[in-house]
Symmetry: C3
Subunit: 249 residues, 3 copies
């Protein structure tokens, strides 16, 4: 059983955060909210999304699991005007999701969850990621856009002594260096941290991060990066994890 | 003889309503306004446009007939800024239309009307179209956009008992159903009505219907649909007629 | 030695005026400002740009010459938000230009000036260009857009007797004529003037001319046209010169 009403903005933000990595996903319809974990086909980027029941106008569920085509569901959510409510109701017998937006009813055929790539175990890396920085979403976007002009990979790191967060991209002829000190950052916990990442993944993840979101970035030495931010006025939590590339030097 | 001055908005709205179906058309330059009838090459969609002399700032004509390239004329009208006036004058000798917009003069070579597809007789179907609904242009747009996500054809109909207008689209896995009752509709005359139409034509016609236009839709059982709306603050009348598809079921 | 700080708007306007003709250029870093002269590969369009030291927030140079990839430098300048300052500093040893925008540092490899096409001598044609008109940038844009609908070349001229500036484009079937009298022009010095130009070049140059710029156009009989305008609140001067096409008639 699943019945919920949610604003178009909240549903779209939630779906976008998963849709930048995968086309299909499993959605856990828990009693206290929905939960999605997904990993991209190359096993490089992962996402963990929790959207609390409180993020919905109304919410009822009893622990089911459904498989959905994310781009299809995003397109439907995109039919709603800003501020409109989206009504979701699962038909357990037909395995179809009925989506009402004002006079419009869309009947979405669900996907057998067993046919969808297995959900990842997002590893607990807390002791391996000693550095933490908190930035605005727009700063990630800016660094990634600049880096993209010269390279297809990017180093993220923290300078422990001088206490700043940096982004480095080295091209064949040109270089980009981006640096934010404690004055520019929302918060910084310095620690040894320098890892290389694929720019394509960071660009995709960046598209799902609102410009004004506070993003907590956890970094280590040649370790994955974790990025956390909230959506739906704090009632939704998104975590991205991205595996490092092997150092090219 | 033909001399007229018209606002860019009015001319553009008039041309758009015909241009979604054909590239070239005949324009009747009647004493009391212009009149265009056109049918698309497949004989599926028709348009009838009347723009009264009162829709013009000034208007003089004595019953001529010209043939024009519609996209060319639309491009020229698009050169005018919002609120600017467009001056049209026919040179009977050279068969050219002189179009003045402020300091700009465009000389448009006309097309021999005999070389343009024959104008349709738009049939009088009043006794075959027992149901009438009046909606806003934006509602047509919304229904068509949603239907387009699942199918390339669409059923329009009226539920006589429960008095609502509906749009149905059935895809391979997903379905769209759109429903407007007497509370949502501007007006409804219930009657037996259900017909299937090509979505491509409805999308094209929808592009020419202003979002805030009141559109009168006349429907029957397996019969063409007629859609009427006004432009130019009521001084222009547009009628679209679309032939039904054979039921696929 | 070269160190300068400049607003994003000023740098972008300056680069655009040269970038519409060439991909790479030499920049003279004079004591009193920068100077660029360039000619397109076909030797048809030339540009002369002077940006005074006063156009910069701060400026220090001692007469060097650098070669740059213009589109690359434009992309970097485009990273700055409106109102942001761009910090430029030349590293004489590595021959790299360091570009700082807030926390972002871009290191741009320079090009050997000797590998860039030679700078043109922009001829002094004052006695051959007897007619001068001053128009707003938006009028050039309007005339060029209209002419582009019918032809790939365009005549610019002045009617001495009736004292108006005109633009003529003749297509296979349609014609465009644009005319501005002394009431519409900012200024007019009448004289014998009529020359034919390639529309492609005028479109490119038009893209670099701000809509609200006052553009001084100097014209003669079958002679090049010169167009002057200022950027950076008068502290930058741009001159375009375009060679005429041979009359097709």
């Amino acid at each position: 059983m699943f019945k919920a009403i949610v604003s178009a903005e909240t549903l779209t933000a939630a779906l976008d955060s998963v849709g930048v990595l995968v086309d299909e996903c499993k959605i856990h319809l828990e009693e206290d909210g929905i939960h999605i974990m997904a990993v991209d086909p190359a096993n490089v980027g992962m996402v963990d999304l929790e959207l609390d029941a409180a993020a919905f106008e109304s919410y009822e569920a009893d622990g089911g699991l459904i498989g959905v085509n994310l781009s299809r569901l995003s397109d439907i959510a995109g039919m709603a005007d800003s501020g409109q409510l989206i009504n979701l109701e699962l038909d357990d017998e037909t395995r179809k999701l009925h989506i009402h937006i004002d006079g419009l009813e869309y009947t979405l055929a669900l996907i057998d969850p067993d046919s969808i790539r297995q959900e990842p175990d997002i590893p607990d890396l807390n002791d391996k990621l000693p550095a933490t920085v908190v930035v605005e979403g727009r700063d990630i976007d800016r660094a990634v856009t600049a880096a993209d002009m010269v390279s297809d990979h990017i180093a993220l790191g923290v300078n422990e002594d001088e206490e700043f967060f940096y982004v480095d991209a080295e091209g064949d002829t040109d270089d980009v260096h981006f640096e934010m000190g404690t004055d520019d950052l929302i918060a910084l916990t310095a620690g040894p941290a320098h890892s290389l990442f694929s720019l394509d993944y960071l660009k995709d993840m960046g598209r799902a991060i609102p410009n004004d979101a506070e993003v907590t970035i956890e970094l280590g030495e040649e370790f994955p990066v974790k990025m956390h931010f909230t959506i739906a006025e704090g009632e939704g939590n998104v975590t991205f994890m991205l595996a490092p590339r092997i150092q090219s030097s």
